[in-house]
């Protein structure tokens, strides 16, 4: 909606400690307006802390952040006016109906009278909540409650949406619905979206993925670049002879990364450098071998789990 020249998000050395525990080290991040950015990482990696810091809900221990050029500590009110938030846990009042929940949210966003009514009606329509408008929220399934959260976060047309695991625990149908709403927000209004997820396929369409582990950024870039960084292809080798095959591949200069799983080894390869299927035929103790394109899951495991010997 806005053609603000300032980045949507600018974080410099942003970090937060809880007592002696370092939750987020020093996040550096510049996100242009309209971008879709995924924040990935294991539980406790610092994703939620990063989002709460950017949303002005936590004070940083170190560093600074600006949202559309506005400092998150000094211009808190102005920053919040531009934000739409979905928290990791649903924020829906079970005693209120769907419409009353949204009307409450509209008031909190500073909308009153006709503007609030119009925003509520539009949000319910966009989220497919029209038939459930008079239903007490406690009667909704988890998926529909999450739809209320998303409708609430988008109803005032924020310029930046911060979504902490918006689809966690949802069935594919509701996940699809939520992403359809978010895609429409980006397409129609140029909304910038920062989201976290454990469903790594959801991060594939992102313009950029930031991978956190133990409070530090361990990978950052477009998904294609990240996938390439662990090897364009991945060979999955199971069985006691897995290490021998990987060793042969390594001798040919084909191995970019290796990680151990409960079933065997996963080696990222430079495409075309070696023929793992042919090599496997000459190695004993191979129970299964398969070659596939690398995914963000490979990036996730390779960057967040120590590389196999």
């Amino acid at each position: 909606m806005s053609a603000s020249p300032a980045p949507a998000i600018e974080a410099e050395g942003l970090g937060r400690d809880y007592g002696s525990t370092r939750a987020l080290g020093a996040l550096g991040l510049v996100v242009p307006p309209g971008a879709l950015v995924g924040l990935l990482g294991p539980n406790g990696a610092g994703k939620t802390t990063a989002m709460l810091l950017l949303a002005t809900l936590l004070a940083p221990t170190r560093g600074s952040a600006r949202i559309f050029g506005l400092d998150t500590r000094q211009r808190r009110t102005a920053v919040r006016r531009r934000l739409g938030l979905v928290f990791q846990e649903t924020s829906v009042d079970g005693l209120l109906t769907v419409e009353e929940n949204l009307r409450f949210a509209a008031r909190l966003a500073g909308l009153g009278g006709q503007a609030a009514r119009a925003a509520v009606a539009r949000a319910m329509s966009d989220a497919g909540l029209g038939e459930r408008r008079s239903q007490p929220a406690r009667q909704l399934s988890g998926g529909w409650r999450r739809m209320v959260d998303v409708a609430r976060a988008t109803m005032h047309r924020p310029e930046l949406l911060i979504l902490d695991e918006p689809t966690v625990g949802l069935d594919p149908e509701h996940r699809e619905r939520i992403w359809a709403i978010l895609d429409a927000e980006r397409r129609r209004h140029g909304t910038t979206i920062l989201f976290s997820t454990h469903y790594l396929t959801e991060a594939e369409p992102a313009d950029r993925v930031v991978l956190l582990a133990q409070g530090d950024v361990v990978a950052d870039g477009p998904p294609a670049d990240l996938r390439a960084s662990v090897g364009g292809e991945v060979v999955e080798v199971d069985g006691p002879g897995a290490a021998s095959l990987v060793s042969l591949l390594r001798d040919r200069g084909a191995v970019v990364s290796v990680r151990r799983t409960d079933r065997g080894l996963r080696a990222g390869l430079v495409p075309g450098r070696a023929r793992p299927m042919e090599l496997a035929a000459g190695v004993s103790g191979i129970e299964r071998v398969a070659v596939r394109h690398s995914t963000l899951e490979d990036v996730y495991f390779t960057k967040t789990v120590a590389e196999a010997e």
């Binding site: 919040r80 079970g94 209120l96 909190l108 500073g110 009153g112 406690r138």
Partner: protein
């Protein structure tokens, strides 16, 4: 505009919630009427009051304040539930900021307290003669008592960590405030220590102002009652703003609300 809209939203939500919690609503009304009708009738039979009035008439101002005190404080303390179940997070993320959110909670609790105390006040003519000017003055006194109760409730909620402490608050905070206030018996007949406690208890001044309004003998000038209550309300709000930890429970996982 944003501040007004936020306060409006919080008050409207709390009233909707209150209207749907029928057991809580009924409990809030049964308690004062039980005192007025059961305890009041029993005491009327045995108590000898100066001036020869009935005990029910004597205790009426205290019961009005009791209804407001419980309604206001318990609604304000319900902020702890909102913190526990994730709704407070939503309010704190609003552009209006923490003081406005707290003011919204206080306004909502005040409205609930005025409604609960107002229902008892509306029944006053069944207990004693009440003129329209007296009723108007009592309504003003009720509003002040309600606002003070709401602010005190917020102050308790500011540092209350979990809903498990909620029942304890009633026993440790609400009952002592009520029993050491002159709501149910004259403070003049209390032992010196209890009388001193009653003097520093802000609820004493709430009850006293309602007595003024309803034309009963009062202990302090009406101006003193008013100033003390305003002072306590403002001090409680200021302290709440200082003590309130906006980050509490932001990172921990709230429970899903039923």
């Amino acid at each position: 505009m944003s501040a007004l809209s936020t306060v409006h939203g919080i008050v409207a939500r709390d009233l909707l919630r209150a209207s749907r919690q029928t057991s809580r609503l009924l409990g809030g009304l049964v308690r004062p009427f039980m005192w007025l009708l059961l305890v009041g009738t029993g005491y009327s039979a045995i108590a000898r009051l100066e001036g020869g009035g009935s005990y029910q008439a004597y205790v009426l101002p205290g019961i009005i304040v009791m209804a407001a005190l419980f309604g206001g404080m318990l609604t304000a303390i319900a902020t702890v539930y909102d913190r526990e179940f994730g709704m407070l997070r939503l309010m704190l993320a609003s552009p209006a900021g923490i003081p406005v959110v707290l003011a919204g909670r206080a306004a909502a609790a005040t409205v609930v307290a005025v409604i609960q105390g107002g229902i008892v006040l509306a029944c006053a003519p069944f207990v004693m003669p009440v003129s329209w000017p007296s009723a108007g003055a009592a309504a003003g006194a009720l509003l002040l008592a309600s606002a003070m109760s709401a602010m005190l409730g917020l102050l308790v909620a500011a540092r209350l960590r979990s809903v498990e402490n909620f029942a304890g608050v009633i026993n440790v905070v609400l009952f002592p405030l009520l029993f050491a206030s002159g709501a149910l018996y004259p403070t003049a007949g209390m032992p010196p220590l209890l009388r001193a406690l009653a003097r520093v208890n802000p609820v004493t001044y709430s009850v006293d102002l309602v007595r003024h309004a309803l034309g009963q003998a009062a202990e302090f000038p009406a101006a003193t009652d008013t100033v003390v209550q305003l002072g306590v309300a403002l001090a409680a709000f200021g302290l709440t703003a200082l003590l309130f930890d906006p980050e509490q429970r932001l990172v921990g996982k709230p429970r899903p609300r039923a």
